[in-house]
């Protein structure tokens, strides 16, 4: 199935969990946060939250930035 991962299309196995996807991507759970279809996923739900075809997933972490550091506002 195909999902949107950080704004880009990605092919993943059907009904994959958030925690399995992070494992495949080699991303540590600490220091990241995950959003599925615009709703934050609690860390203790990673293992039980499955991703469906067409879902949009965002994986974020903290970067350098003080005040508004945008490049291109929507």
């Amino acid at each position: 199935m195909e999902i949107m991962l950080n704004g880009e299309k990605k092919e993943v196995t059907d009904n994959i969990t958030v925690s399995r996807l992070l494992e495949i991507l080699d991303i540590q759970h600490q220091r990241v946060a995950v959003e599925l279809n615009e709703a934050t996923v609690k860390k203790d739900r990673y293992a039980t939250t499955t991703i469906n075809d067409g879902d949009a997933l965002e994986v974020v972490s903290f970067m350098g930035g003080g005040l508004c550091t945008i490049q291109s506002p929507r």
Binding site: L5, N6, G7, E8, L25, D26, I27, Q30, R31, V32, A33, V34, E35, E38, T40, V41, K42, K43, E58, V59, V60, S61, F62, M63, G64, G65, G66, L67, C68, T69, I70, P73, R74
Partner: protein, 259 residues
């Protein structure tokens, strides 16, 4: 000055200088500037993880969250919805319940959209976050933000990154007299005298980024800002003399030769 504590929402802040982490040459320079500034509050943005290049260094490898209070921000958000999403993600990252709420209303000036900020703040306060909103230097707006549960407000000194310093010290004064929570001047500071002025006005803290990161020598400027804050705060606590139009001699007039 030892008992001159800044406590917001039960959290004790040891420094009145808060700094950003953007625009530095690299992470080692960021780290060094932050160390030299003497701050204990560091603001960071929330951005997508680089999926392709996972080996890229992480800011938090350089800025130890045990040593510094991490203040995630919603920089770059133009709508309440995006700011709320970003703040909720930041909170879920599990490092901090603090958030510097920023909802920008204009691309050119980067002035905040106060109405949208208030809307987002209401939601985030209800979600249990400690919301420090970036706002115009508007006392009415500041009061509204406090009324809905913000434990501090962050009025701008001048447009973000402009280095113009405090454009309207009178409004900042009125904000401080209007609300009973700490006031943190945010954005537009250019040099050490600007932060000293903010402190002399009685502001509780100053947040800045570009003034240090964009200086010719960021490490030197970080140190200058540290002393600017300390000097300004001490002057405020010590009570300056009133301004007068005419001279007052500081040497005794008795005993002068020829008298």
């Amino acid at each position: 000055m030892k008992d001159d504590k800044l406590i917001i929402a039960g959290i004790e802040f040891h420094s009145r200088l808060w700094v950003g982490t953007g625009k530095y040459k690299d992470f080692p320079e960021t780290k060094k500037a932050i160390e030299v500034s003497g701050t204990d509050v560091v603001t960071v943005s929330v951005r997508r993880v680089n999926i392709i290049d996972k080996n890229k260094e992480n800011l938090l490898d350089y800025i130890d969250p045990k040593k510094y209070k991490i203040l995630p921000n919603t920089a770059g958000c133009f709508t309440p919805k995006d700011a709320i999403r970003t703040a909720m993600l930041a909170a879920e990252a599990g490092i901090s319940k603090l958030v510097k709420l920023e909802v920008i209303g204009d691309e050119k000036t980067l002035f905040p959209d106060n109405e949208a900020t208030l809307e987002a703040a209401k939601v985030l306060v209800k979600e249990g976050l400690i919301v420090f909103p970036y706002t115009s230097d508007d006392p009415v707006m500041a009061k509204k933000l406090v009324d809905i549960g913000c434990p501090a407000v962050m009025p701008l000194a001048a447009p973000i990154g402009s280095g113009l310093g405090i454009r309207n010290p009178f409004n900042i004064r009125i904000i401080m007299e209007t609300i009973k929570v700490p006031v943190v001047v945010d954005a537009g500071v250019g040099t050490a005298s600007d932060v000293a002025l903010a402190m002399e006005l009685g502001c509780d803290a100053v947040l800045l980024n570009t003034a240090i990161a964009g200086a010719k020598d960021p490490i030197g400027m970080a140190e200058a800002m540290k002393y600017g804050v300390l000097g300004g705060r001490l002057a405020y606590k010590s009570g300056r003399i009133p301004k007068k139009l005419y001279a007052t001699a500081s040497s005794p007039l008795e005993g002068m030769i020829g008298s």
